[in-house]
């Protein structure tokens, strides 16, 4: 009876502690003004890509020959492109594509990379093979591998997501693996093994949660990088195919008319910089909070 009460007491203390830690974490995050600005930018872009299409009145695919390359005006706030399509609506739909690709890549790379990293850390034999493959993929400069994969797969939004995920999986796997290796050595993992817990249980319920902080930080930066690389691929004509709008796509069109229509370059450009800046600020803030190593360096 007494033991039970003690145990319950302990659980209460533990959950209070977790709550306190969470509150401290949130307070410290909001004390970092730059990180908050980053988060605000990200939220703004997410809202823009979800709610934007409901508000705008122009069809992003609607061509009008009379309105070709129109300067920003009261009807077309950001002007029109060389087919007379409204630039503002194309940028808003482009936000959906660019943010969507960034999110999908970060998510797929995180899930697959996590599995690879966890199993590599748990099984020695697997470790050698998986990590050599990761080293091999990381030996490629990222954009180059993406271009090669796109060339092989053919230009489409799904293939952009697939190629970029392949490119970034090793980065997640590496981070997860090194975090997991630390946990693996803890005594309680040994104890669980001795008690006969299945490896699936140990890996996913006990090791995995401990790798989340570095994973989230890494995923934030991958989100930012995926946006850049998608834009670069589309800008080169090897990414999201026309007529679908993406920020890189609009720039590709803009480059051809740079002498007459500056707005075609400036506005999508600002969007790219803003989103990447947002994720970098947010990621820097998270890293300062979650990564003890850089914390130490800061003191």
């Amino acid at each position: 009876m007494e033991a039970l009460e003690k145990r319950e007491e302990l659980i209460v203390i533990k959950s209070n502690l977790k709550k306190q830690q969470r509150q401290l974490f949130i307070r410290r995050f909001f004390a970092n003004k730059l990180a908050v600005v980053g988060l605000a930018i990200i939220i703004f872009l997410i809202l823009l890509s979800i709610l934007g299409p409901l508000v705008i009145s122009h069809d992003p695919y609607g061509m009008k020959v009379d309105d070709r390359l129109g300067a920003p005006s009261s009807i077309h706030l950001l002007g029109t492109d060389e087919f007379g399509r409204d630039l503002l609506s194309r940028i808003i739909y482009g936000a959906q594509v660019s943010m969507g690709v960034g999110f999908a890549v970060a998510a797929i790379a995180s899930i697959v990379g996590m599995a690879v990293g966890l199993y590599a850390s748990y099984y020695r034999v697997l470790d050698n093979v998986l990590m050599r493959i990761c080293d091999g993929i990381m030996a490629f400069p990222a954009i180059l591998l993406a271009i090669a994969l796109m060339a092989a797969l053919g230009a489409s939004t799904n293939n952009v997501i697939l190629s970029l995920s392949i490119v970034y999986i090793p980065y997640i796997a590496r981070v997860v693996r090194s975090a997991a290796l630390v946990v693996r050595e803890e005594t309680y993992i040994e104890a669980m093994k001795a008690q006969g817990a299945s490896s699936w249980r140990i890996i996913w319920l006990h090791i995995a949660p401990n790798t989340l902080s570095p994973l989230i930080v890494q995923a934030t930066f991958i989100f930012a990088n995926a946006i850049i690389v998608e834009a670069a691929l589309s800008f080169l004509g090897a990414g999201v195919p026309a007529p679908d709008p993406s920020w890189g796509n609009i720039l590709y069109d803009g480059k051809k008319v740079i002498f007459t229509a500056w707005w075609m370059v400036v506005y999508p450009g600002i969007c790219i910089v803003l989103s990447v800046l947002g994720f970098n600020l947010f990621g820097d803030g998270l890293r300062d909070l979650l990564d003890p190593h850089t914390n130490q360096a800061k003191k």
Binding site: R132, I133, D135, G136, I137, A139, F140, P141, A142, I143, L144, L145, I147, A148, L149, M150, A151, A152, L153, G154, A224, I228, A231, A232, F235, L236, G237, A238, L251, G254, K255, I258, F259, W262, V265, V266, G269, I272, V273, V276, L277, N280, L281, D284, T294, A297, K298, K299
Partner: protein, 316 residues
């Protein structure tokens, strides 16, 4: 030191093996028959058949790989049916501009990035530090192709100071060479400058917090010498790593920048090859650039040993 070098070189072999397999598979991932793809839509059935025979496409896939990789070891990167010349020749003829561009950008990263990082670290927390790091963060967030376009918009379209694009080799005179390369190099180098500055700052700050810096100060070493003699040499390892990675980014970043500025380099070559589905060139360029990148990182690794006696001497 010899054992150290040998060990590092041997560690590369599995990586190069994986790289070659990935590159080899890329062409087999393409939908359709590689021979048809290589020859283009206009090829006759006999031509396709002949090429299949020549490439050994009817053999099992591992034999094809061995055939291909043994060619690569002899410098045979394949043949481009579009360019009507060996892939290696195509690569070499496009190498000059890219190397010029990458070196120029790397020089900027070293000459601007490292000093800015030192300034920020030694004035940690000051307004100078904060504004420098703010600019650096912006630098990291502006992709090179975007900066390139903005530069064109300002300096070529509005001000008309510099040409919109094109390339003049060094043999036409240094000034002319630079006039065409300066905008692309800035576009390409800005992110590397920012990355180098950030890394220099954080690495130097970490070293400045160590006990041996305190010990150096405690024996009366002047602050200038504390930073340049004691701290910087230790801080240099992570900076070197960034510079090495930078070089890889530069070569591929060149792909995008060269397209904007219409520079006939490796980058433009691969983009054009993607456009005309010239897979043997794509394969060759990817393999060539990645090998170069791996080799540069090996050199950086070996430089570690020169700088840090712990790396060098522990390899006995």
């Amino acid at each position: 030191m010899k054992a150290f070098i040998l060990k590092r070189v041997l560690a590369l072999l599995p990586i190069l093996f994986i790289v070659s397999i990935v590159v080899f598979l890329v062409i087999h991932l393409t939908p359709g028959d590689p021979a048809t793809v290589m020859l283009g839509d206009t090829a006759t059935e006999e031509q396709v058949k002949a090429l299949r025979e020549q490439l050994g496409l009817n053999n099992p896939i591992h034999e094809q790989y061995v055939h291909w990789i043994s060619g690569v070891f002899q410098g045979d990167f394949g043949y481009s049916y579009f360019m009507k010349q060996p892939v290696m020749d195509t690569i070499i003829s496009h190498l000059g501009p890219t190397v010029s561009l990458a070196i120029l950008a790397e020089i900027m990263a070293i000459l601007i990035g490292i000093p800015l990082g030192i300034i920020a670290a030694t004035r940690r927390g000051s307004a100078t530090d904060q504004s420098l790091m703010g600019v650096a963060l912006l630098g990291i967030s502006v992709p090179s192709f975007l900066l390139g376009l903005f530069l064109v918009l300002v300096f070529a379209v509005q001000l008309r100071w510099l040409p919109v694009g094109g390339y003049e080799p060094l043999s036409e005179g240094l000034l002319l060479h630079l006039k065409y390369l300066i905008m692309p190099a800035i576009a390409l180098g800005s992110m590397q400058i920012a990355l180098t500055a950030r890394m220099t700052r954080s690495s130097l700050l970490e070293v400045l917090n160590t006990n041996f810096i305190k010990a150096a100060r405690s024996k009366g070493v002047k602050e200038r010498h504390v930073i340049y003699r004691h701290a910087l040499r230790n801080a240099f390892l992570p900076i070197l790593t960034v510079l090495g990675q930078t070089f890889g980014v530069l070569i591929t970043g060149a792909a995008v920048v060269e397209t904007i500025f219409n520079i006939p380099g490796i980058g433009q070559l691969i983009i054009n090859s993607v456009g005309r589905r010239d897979y043997s060139v794509i394969q060759g360029v990817v393999l060539f650039v990645t090998f170069t990148y791996v080799f540069i990182n090996l050199v950086i690794d070996l430089l570690y040993g020169v700088i840090d006696p712990r790396v060098r001497l522990d390899q006995k």
